[in-house]
Symmetry: C2
Subunit: 392 residues, 2 copies
């Protein structure tokens, strides 16, 4: 086990009608002037935005509104938000939505007190030292942004999708999580979220760090539960218990506890980011295409851990041959993604095999000559994985 610092100070307010506690949480965390950030019309149509703003009006907490955040959020909206927050003298950001909305709010939060361009933080030119506090009303589980100090934004010029990771500054002060808000998510969004949270665990689970039995077991336990509960949701999308387990699993998956003391990987995420930047594909759908291809490519060298995954999570009986069991585990994982209605190939997400050299070029330009840690990948490897993803 590696040395680590684990710090997760977010207060999670979880359960039925949790959003009614939003203003109370804002007041407890010292908010005086709030900027509410949100995405499309669904939170307006569902009445959620009204219910949240009503709690603020009741407590006489002034607020401004910034709507229109898109999936794979762009820098334009961040700039708009920074200008608005400065004009409104905002001292607290309240994103109401999923990962894109939260990540946009975080980028605004560090951009407001900084005199330069906020992109400096994402390009690695500057470290975040100061940021406005952020509190979250979560409507789409999976991204895990409600429990992390991270943000992912795409620069429109050049469609460069980069992630910013801060140990403290951007961790939300609180996260309001009502599983009922996820009852009406479109099935493909629920499914993409489930894939995303599973892969957040994979990025930590597949490691070469020795002596991580506790976090191995926690990862495997969370994965088992996600698979079980996802199947209950396919049967009944309004099953509160299943929605609650999935929502909390999204937080556990990315909240950091699963990664304590482990070297993490992140190659699959990096490879997917290039897909979603180029084709604007949903992140979880892109991951469903990349991850099985990645597993197949490394199976020969990494059959031990893949077999452990197969046996403990995908319920593959132990045949005494790690490679055989690893491959059966990958087969079952793909079948599970299919059950969820997820794509498995380039074609299904509108990606083109002829773009692969460009994807590889951009990937290594943005992320360096070698990506990943479990099995470090150079351009020949990532090209081979993208090609596997065309025909699985």
């Amino acid at each position: 086990m590696n040395d680590f610092l684990y710090y997760s100070p977010t207060e999670f307010i979880f359960g039925h009608n949790a959003e009614a506690q939003t203003a109370e949480a804002l007041a407890r965390h010292g908010a005086r002037r709030v900027l509410i950030v949100y995405g499309g019309g669904s939170i307006v149509r569902s009445g959620l935005l009204d219910r949240v703003t009503a709690t603020l009006r009741e407590r006489q907490i002034p607020y401004a509104l910034l709507g229109g955040v898109q999936p794979n959020p762009l820098d334009d909206k961040v700039r708009e938000g920074i200008a608005l927050a400065r004009r409104e003298k905002t001292d607290f950001l309240l994103p109401v939505g999923g990962g894109s909305v939260i990540d946009t709010a975080k980028a605004i939060a560090c951009g407001v007190p900084y005199e330069g361009d906020f992109w400096d933080f994402f390009s690695g030119k500057r470290a975040v030292e100061e940021a406005l506090p952020v509190g979250v009303v979560l409507t789409i589980p999976a991204a895990g942004s409600e429990a992390s100090g991270n943000s992912v934004i795409t620069l429109r010029q050049g469609m460069q999708k980069l992630s910013l990771r801060t140990p403290r500054a951007l961790r939300p002060r609180f996260a309001v999580m009502d599983p009922e808000l996820t009852f009406t998510l479109p099935p493909e969004q629920t499914a993409a979220g489930i894939v995303d949270m599973m892969v957040h665990i994979f990025e930590r689970y597949f490691t070469n760090t020795p002596d991580c039995s506790l976090t191995d077991r926690l990862c495997e336990g969370a994965l088992c539960s996600i698979v079980e509960e996802a199947r209950r949701l396919l049967h009944d999308p309004r099953d509160y218990g299943a929605r609650a387990n999935i929502m909390w699993a999204g937080t556990i998956a990315h909240g950091g506890i699963c990664g304590t003391g482990r070297q993490e990987d992140w190659a699959s995420h990096f490879m997917e980011h290039e897909l979603s930047a180029l084709y604007n594909v949903t992140h979880g759908a892109g991951l469903a295409v990349i991850v099985p291809a990645w597993m197949e490519y490394i199976a020969g060298e990494k059959s031990g851990k893949l077999a452990q995954f197969a046996r403990r999570v995908m319920q593959v009986p132990d045949n005494g041959d790690t490679l055989v069991d690893a491959r059966e585990g990958i087969r079952r994982l793909k079948a599970f993604f299919r059950e969820l209605g997820m794509p498995l190939t380039f074609r299904e997400i509108g990606a083109r095999e002829e773009d692969i050299p460009e994807l590889v070029r951009r990937l290594h330009l943005h992320k360096g000559p070698v990506i990943g840690a479990f099995r470090p990948l150079g351009p020949a490897d990532t090209e081979a994985i993208y090609r596997l993803a065309c025909r699985q």
Copy 2:
């Protein structure tokens, strides 16, 4: 899944020589005048106290010392600490030790700013509103006090052992955790700690709350790892990886994540507290005596969950009969406690069958007419469990 609020703001500094970061952590959390609280001579003899105080001197943070905290800590030492902290104008408490030392420091922390008697908080007369901040250097894993807002103190007059639970005020600001500090723990202390952390999970795992698959799986995963790593420690007490997994498991077991959204039980802890108050037995050893008896007593009514535990944690093959599997799980758990060198009967801990009526009387006097939630227990039940614990 029940609604819940989860908040765990402690910063965990984990790994090799983590104690060298103590003064840095104190400074980051605003400490100016520190009271160091510790127990017996082992941290003096090992040089740990010197190494910790050296980091404070280097940073010029003034400190006072309060040693001599005993296992099953008494109110006398708390009172001594409150007086000393007031005299020294302490603004930050630094316990260096295990659960007894941390719990004593927490009791001092809420006693200093309170004009009445600190026992008011433990007897339930008053809620803690204000407390000095606490940071921890952990030397004995298991109690989980490094990650909780709780404290357990025994009032010498009447030997009344009571626990105080606060949602926020007494949660440590940071916890320094170096697994190497646990290399030299006596085997019986290591073993008692392992039992204690397992039972911290049991108190959350055995619940009637429906739809808790995620936390069920996390509990089971942590328990599997504890059993595996404990066996490695029996083989080599200086195995860093095993010590690290066990130490972090102690925090995960009691840090709250395993209990999110679940009704908790705590009957076994309450029954054990009477044993350790009356006979001054080590808490973990007392639990090894109580818990299998408790499981046997409820097995007929609660075979479903006990069989799940048996199959998923104790590796009992599924025989299709929950009661048979539950009993085999209990048998294996007892065998595991024996492997650790733990007692299983009243006689082995110096408890007497003829004291049972008095134990039951005190238990229900202190904790109410019915204890526990998974299977609520009245005096006839707790008497039967104490009697089972005489002859298993």
